[in-house]
């Protein structure tokens, strides 16, 4: 897997949101914003952002890349011994609150890049070469899909919408 991110090309933005963050952006702001948002969300829902949950979220926000559960486990275990169930519980909690997303295609987790909206299932572009992920704005359940589901009497609860392919950088480097 390569290790890079795309450059900050204006064409790669939509509504001012850089879907593929540039490698030189002030990432500590992303992380701080995510943590503050998490604290706000938990407080407003009467839930507790415990040490484990906060540290898990911090670790996920070390970068904009998806992280595997057992990689997280190893990293968190440096500070505190941690068994899989504890970590998975924290991950489930964070996902429930819409603070992170679980990528089913790659069995990994990533921080939510659009936390302003209510808890949602995101939709993602995932590069199979370099593992970079862009969370697309908007809701993954289109009106057409919703209409079809409704006509079938099917009540959609959550969505998994992931598009795998190659990002611009990878295509340029080795078409």
């Amino acid at each position: 897997m390569r290790d890079h991110t795309t450059t900050a090309d204006p064409d790669q933005q939509q509504a001012g949101i850089p879907l593929f963050p540039s490698p030189d952006h002030a990432h500590h702001r992303c992380r701080n914003a995510a943590l503050q948002h998490a604290a706000r969300v938990c407080k407003s829902h009467g839930l507790r952002l415990t040490r484990l949950r906060r540290q898990t979220l911090e670790m996920i926000w070390k970068s904009h890349r998806p992280v595997k559960a057992y990689a997280l486990l190893a990293q968190l275990s440096v500070q505190r011994k941690l068994a899989p169930p504890s970590l998975y519980r924290a991950l489930h909690f964070l996902e429930q609150q819409g603070l992170i997303h679980r990528l089913r295609s790659t069995r990994s987790f990533i921080g939510c890049s659009h936390p302003a909206t209510t808890p949602h299932s995101g939709q993602f572009l995932i590069c199979i070469r370099c593992d970079t992920v862009a969370e697309l704005p908007g809701l993954p359940i289109t009106p057409g899909t919703q209409r079809t589901a409704t006509s079938l009497g099917f009540a959609i609860d959550r969505a998994t919408v992931e598009f795998l392919g190659q990002c611009q950088t990878c295509r340029t480097l080795a078409p």
Copy 2:
């Protein structure tokens, strides 16, 4: 998990395709059609529908429900002893040819209900109560998504589009 399918309600059809097949339909036709289609596809691409691949496909088409890999493994092992790698190879092959789909949300496999179109990533409604699945017609990559991807220089290769929720029957039985 409950075990039922929806009744053949005309409202639950679109363009004549019963997305949730009725329990009393002539399913042997579904299976035969799928197998014949598989033979055709393989022949036209110069690929071999070997015994293992055919039996795997047959087993998947025993019903319209998704099947787990290790359940398949157990069923196929009744006839022939089978190790995981062999089965997964067959599954990968069948998925490549667009004959089956892999449901990432539930880690299971299901026969493609729209094999007429070229090999595609499907989009699915998956009931979390009874496990029933409807493969929606149409392509999962909407023009809007394609436009966004293109503007980012991202080339989409395949999609995972799955909607989890409750089907009509389950909602009626226990709202």
